[in-house]
């Protein structure tokens, strides 16, 4: 039996890697991928607690996170396509029309 703290530390490390990618990357698709890493880290933590406490609720929540991730990816990638069509770039620093 693996102690729950191992899973929590792995989840925290993955979440921090996703956060690092979100702050350092400039490509908008890379930002979306970093968000996916963070979502998976949270899923791992949810399942770890669910398994530790013997309750199914955490796994149900992971199910909903999956649904939201699918919706987020679909809308996000549609926005990426629209952005590429209008600006010819995916660099988030270049999309600065609203910046003054």
């Amino acid at each position: 039996m693996i102690p729950i703290s191992w899973y929590l530390i792995l989840g925290a490390a993955l979440f921090l890697l996703g956060m690092l990618g979100f702050f350092l990357k400039r490509n908008i698709i890379a930002l979306l991928l970093s968000v996916e890493i963070m979502l998976n880290a949270v899923n791992l933590t949810f399942v770890a607690f669910s398994s530790h406490n013997g309750q199914i609720n955490g796994q149900i929540f992971v199910f909903f996170v999956l649904v939201v991730a699918a919706a987020e990816a679909a809308v996000g990638l549609a926005l990426v396509i629209a952005m590429f069509r209008n600006r010819e770039t995916l660099n988030v620093d270049r999309s600065n029309l609203l910046k003054w």
């Binding site: 703290s5 792995l10 890697l17 490509n27 890493i37 530790h52 013997g54 609720n57 660099n91």
Partner: protein, 162 residues
């Protein structure tokens, strides 16, 4: 034995997550993310959440990541151009900060006293389905609405002119 498997899959997960960040081209990043998802699914199996492990592979690696790869190939992107100057010191500052945060998290989690683990519960399709269609029926139905809205939103955003 289980500890060995955990270490193996955790190493794969961490390595592929780092690979997602260091790759210059997003296509390689997303392929590496698929490896990360597979490792996470293996960890789900170790925690006896079999249904979620299968769903993770089918929905995440099978549908969402295919969508990512499809869009990347559709746009025919060049490799990442190196960013603006301000990124250089952001990297110098950000990486130590993240390591410090990780250290704090590990120290906190290590000290926590947990209860003895409850009797093992198998996250089979039966258990998840029974809970999903009784206690969580309304949220479950609402997700179909969310999916519908996301579907229409994706079409509206990606279409050239309506």
């Amino acid at each position: 034995m289980i500890e060995l498997l955990f270490v193996l899959f955790a190493a794969v997960a961490l390595g592929s997550a780092i690979n997602v960040l260091v790759q210059k081209h997003v296509l390689y990043s997303s392929l590496s993310l698929i490896l990360l998802l597979t490792a996470i699914s293996a960890l789900f199996v170790l925690m006896q959440a079999e249904f979620l492990a299968v769903i993770n592979v089918i929905v995440y690696a099978g549908a969402i990541m295919v969508l990512f790869v499809f869009v990347i190939m559709l746009l025919n992107l060049p490799a990442d151009e190196d960013g603006v100057d301000r990124l250089r010191w952001l990297k110098l500052l950000g990486i130590p900060m993240v390591l410090f945060l990780l250290f704090m998290v590990v120290r906190t989690v290590w000290k926590v006293e947990t209860d003895a683990p409850a009797p093992q519960l198998a996250g089979t399709a039966q258990a998840i389905g029974a809970s999903l269609f009784t206690d969580y029926l309304l949220p479950f139905e609402l997700t179909s609405l969310l999916i519908l809205i996301a579907l229409m939103g994706a079409v509206v955003f990606a279409k050239k002119d309506l």
